[in-house]
Point group: C3
Chain length 469, copies 3
């Protein structure tokens, strides 16, 4: 059974308005300007693997919740990098997951998974330990059908643009294939995003090697800072040619720093010699944000900043399974002083679009909304990661709208690796926005017609415009 009123306020006046507003947004095409879907999925258009490998193993929201109750990721099929064995049987993984389904009550994972089962795969049996096999088999059967190939789903999902994320070291071969098939390239349906962290962050495993590879791929001598900058510029050009309209920067902090070329070169050389300490690495990252802002003004890439994750906080998990498997923890993040050097230079320049994300909800009202509502270059990104959830999406609007309005927010970003969860994630955001706007209407704060225009702006027009799509 479908849940027509999912996430709408239950108060009848607000619910009726929310339904009406949602009806305007529901069928808008999906604009997904930031995410982590593997472009190979769409380039190759091969059938998806079994349900566990599609849905459980790669989803760190799921495996971390199970880890928090003592179920080790290896037992859920998460690949190890230390040679320890990990579960290979999809059905075993699925049963283990279903046994602990109650842990997800009240979480967005529960919502995403249920709606994916129902709306993508047409499986309406409620998951439980008793129905684990039934649900597994039903999804597996669908995955064998041609209508469940990635490109077919892409069309069914009504996605207009999907941006993936690649490092400058990526040869963009998948995107070339997509372009050749009429799916990619500038203005295409699947585009890339320039994510240079692994060549910017000296603390990134293998940074020096990465920088050397960057030189090779760009045909520049990255043995010097000048060559390094030239290589980055060339890669940005290549990314733009592959359709990119934005860059993405995942930093520990939002601090920025203006260095002259001599100072920057000194830090860079320190890094190359393996002599940069933590502070040096931080200063170099801070400086590079300013450098990238300058490049953005020149080449037009929208600049996204994702600060505030304490990466690989769970060291055991990192040692066994590596990065991006659920071992990161948010921390308090400061934007006002941190961004000041960058904003002093470019904050009032409308050619720059700096989209700020956060894992620290406390900054919504205090820092981010005032910055977005006070600088021409600053936009507020959608609640991200731990904050991409119904309650926080609603608190986000409640917190930022009064200082930043709706039009300094850049629209929903799913940020997902899980291709099949894209529709429900956007749907959740649209439903929450409908509920928030419905309250404004019900409290006589906004006329219905303006609310209706606003929800379409939020769902479709704003992200399209702000991300230059």
């Amino acid at each position: 059974m479908s849940r027509a009123d999912l996430l709408f306020p239950s108060e009848p006046t607000q619910r009726a308005i929310a339904r009406e507003l949602y009806a305007h947004a529901r069928d808008q095409p999906i604009i997904s300007p930031h995410g982590h879907v593997d472009p190979a999925i769409l380039a190759d258009d091969a059938p998806f693997p079994d349900p566990a490998r599609l849905i459980i193993c790669p989803d760190h929201y799921v495996t971390r919740m199970l880890l928090s109750q003592g179920i080790e990721p290896a037992s859920l099929g998460v690949p190890t990098r230390d040679g320890q064995p990990y579960e290979q049987d999809g059905r075993t993984i699925w049963r283990r997951f279903a046994e602990h389904w109650h842990l997800f009550r009240g979480t967005p994972s529960r919502l995403w998974l249920e709606e994916t089962f129902t709306n993508v795969f047409g499986v309406t049996t409620a998951l439980s330990p008793a129905t684990a096999d039934e649900v597994y088999d039903a999804i597996a059967a669908k995955l064998a059908e041609p209508e469940f190939r990635p490109r077919a789903l892409f069309e069914r999902f009504n996605i207009e643009v999907l941006a993936t994320t690649e490092s400058p070291l990526d040869d963009l071969g998948r995107h070339a294939k997509l372009a050749a098939d009429g799916w990619g390239g500038p203005g295409g349906r699947v585009i890339t995003t320039f994510r240079p962290d692994n060549v910017v962050d000296m603390e990134f495993e293998g940074w020096a090697d990465n920088v050397a590879k960057l030189g090779e791929i760009a045909g520049e001598d990255t043995g010097t800072y000048r060559g390094y900058i030239a290589a980055l510029r060339k890669r940005r050009e290549a990314f733009i040619a592959a359709g990119a309209t934005s860059s993405d920067h995942g930093h520990p902090t939002a601090d920025t720093l203006v260095l002259d070329e001599v100072e920057a070169a000194e830090l860079y050389e320190l890094g190359l010699r393996g002599e940069a300490d933590q502070d040096d690495a931080e200063y170099f990252r801070n400086h590079m944000l300013v450098e990238f802002a300058r490049m953005s003004i020149e080449d037009g890439l929208v600049m996204q900043l994702h600060p505030g994750a304490d990466r690989n906080h769970n060291k055991w998990l990192y040692a066994r399974h590596g990065r991006d498997v659920g071992g990161d923890i948010p921390q308090a993040t400061e934007y006002v002083r941190g961004l000041a050097p960058l904003l002093d230079l470019y904050g009032n320049d409308p050619r720059l679009r700096l989209v700020l994300y956060t894992l620290d909800e406390d900054t919504f009202t205090r820092e981010l909304a005032p910055l977005a509502g006070g600088y021409a270059a600053v936009y507020l990104g959608a609640p991200w990661w731990f904050l991409d959830s119904p309650e926080v999406l609603r608190r986000f609007r409640e917190a930022v709208t009064e200082s930043a309005g709706f039009y300094n927010t850049s629209g929903f970003v799913d940020d997902t690796r899980a291709f099949c969860s894209i529709p429900v994630r956007h749907d959740v955001a649209r439903r929450i926005d409908a509920g928030f706007l419905a309250r404004l209407v019900a409290e006589e704060r906004l006329p219905l017609d303006e609310a209706a225009e606003t929800i379409v702006d939020l769902a479709y027009r704003l992200p399209k415009r702000i991300f230059r799509l």
Copy 2:
């Protein structure tokens, strides 16, 4: 059309109670113990200028939102101080503003402006690019009528007391005029507030000159610290004679510091010689807060502390237009350790009334409510500036009531420069309080009769008593 249920919860039980509670508060006289209306407006009682000059140009809430979308303040008639031209034509400014009216959806500015148009000027046409001229002309016509002179509006607004804010360097001439006309002086309708930042903060532009002027106006030798303190005392006396019942202190932090006279004099002399660094300036401000608390105990001025703004964060804006035009950004603020030195000395002395404001909502529950609920001298000021908005006013009650109750909060403060917006600002606070109390009643947490008494206390009796009016 009037919006009778504006901002009330839409759930019918709560709405009915909110209406009933609001009816008790609606017609209470306005007590405005803190704000920035120019006293000349009421001293001279001259007609207001055109609608743009009245409503747009001086309202940094409006011009900063437009700046955030790339519309420069100069194009909205904000005076420049760097010689650049700025728009002079009221109608052009108004049209430019109306074109971007949608940016204000969901903001308090929208609410304040709409209610001002309707309730003050009787203009019920919805503003839009198409109706810009019509609304402009209608307001302009009203402004020409004698009923729209400042004093007539003051009476129509049912203001009982309005406090303006002056520096110790002000000669209080406007207030003398008001007193002569029977409008000012102790117990009068328009009173002043003692705001000494420009002679306390060594980082304030022209501090040394200001201190010299302070000496002249007070007839004391401010070349010495002792003379400086004597001058401040004299000016407080003059302010009290002009009706002041409170002082106001806008500091970067809430830190306080107890210095003996020798130490304080050393810092002061360092400042006079232009040798004080950032730390010295901060220590001197911190010390002066303690000094002012001591003076408050002696002379009875209620002490207001407004910390937490990073002033002139937008440096381009500051360079072009100066202070107080929308370039400040809030930052995290610490009160518990910062205020400890002051509270150790005077926190349990009921003769002191220290009203604390914040731009950092995170401190509501964690710091401010416990301090106000644990020290006889401490009161919680209303949500301020970026936080003076329906959502935050409601979150304020939800956050602070459980630790501080209602009776350690000091009542609503409009803090506005915009004289015509005073009624709607107080009305919003009364409506939000009605909604909050209605929920307590609907959830069987407070009987209706006590809620009714409470809302009148919040709207009228508490601010009158706490600010010694």
Copy 3:
């Protein structure tokens, strides 16, 4: 009149669901794994003293609110330690309290007291200055009856387990008496909790003496670090023999530090010589948390950490009345980096159960939910002290559920000294959880049957399991 719908959402759909869910939880036995009831009350089972001495004098929530309005604790019967007189007459204290009853509007104290009057003592007259004597006399009359002796109330309250809190210096004599009466000991109805702050925190008044006493009571030489550790282990064994299943640690911060035995011994000896400074004391506390985690893995005591109170902030109050009388203030608390050293060692070990509490609500979403949702050893304790209130209990669920689910939270903890308030405190938590779950059901986010199972888990099964009761 009873308030059947107390604290339930007023929206009819949600209210109906909340009623139904609450019906499942209402009569579950009370599990109270953390609190400060004096075990002598139950060991001696003597009648309670007069209403003021039972309800007002020892309740720092009440006396601090009155202090915040200038009513001194001594006038409310709070014992002084500086020789100043304090009010001895129960009726005078009660009248003084009743005169200021309006101060408690909207606070949990009001709710707890009203429900205690009604449900425990059957007094339905609303308290007011006019009815002060009537209410006093009615409660006093009840206190004289045998049904109002502590053990009779314990049974009437349907308490299954009550944990008190003792220091390692306590001889556990009361608990021996309870065990002898069939009320205590392992698996008993009244058990103890191991709270070693006064022998761990070098800044605790009399630490060196306490450590010496610890040696005596344990029969170990605490003149050496090794002996000190041995003494702590022995006392933990004694506490476990008296029924303890958990330890409790009240620290200023959540910082932890791994020292080797030589380093730890050096700090310890510095402390014994009276040469430890603030930093040394902090490092030693930080190290001991890691040490206690190690012991917990060995002996199975659940480890509770309560950081974030700035103790004795109100110095006048401390000088006059000592500790724990309302002079503490919360402060910002950091967990992510602070706990990292401990979690690196033991965070993924399911034998450890580390229950984290906070006074800093900002950490709910940002730090605590991600930690509890990402480490097998970490659980989220209930909102505590200033945060133990209806609004925060609701915000807690709204903030933490999406990252941590329900099953990484450890259940409600009353933390109270006020024996008679135990039922209402648990009832408030159950009602708020019912309301929260009702909203999830009404918004089609959780089926009713799962919500019904969840509320019983939260009320009863989870705390019982997690605290190993």
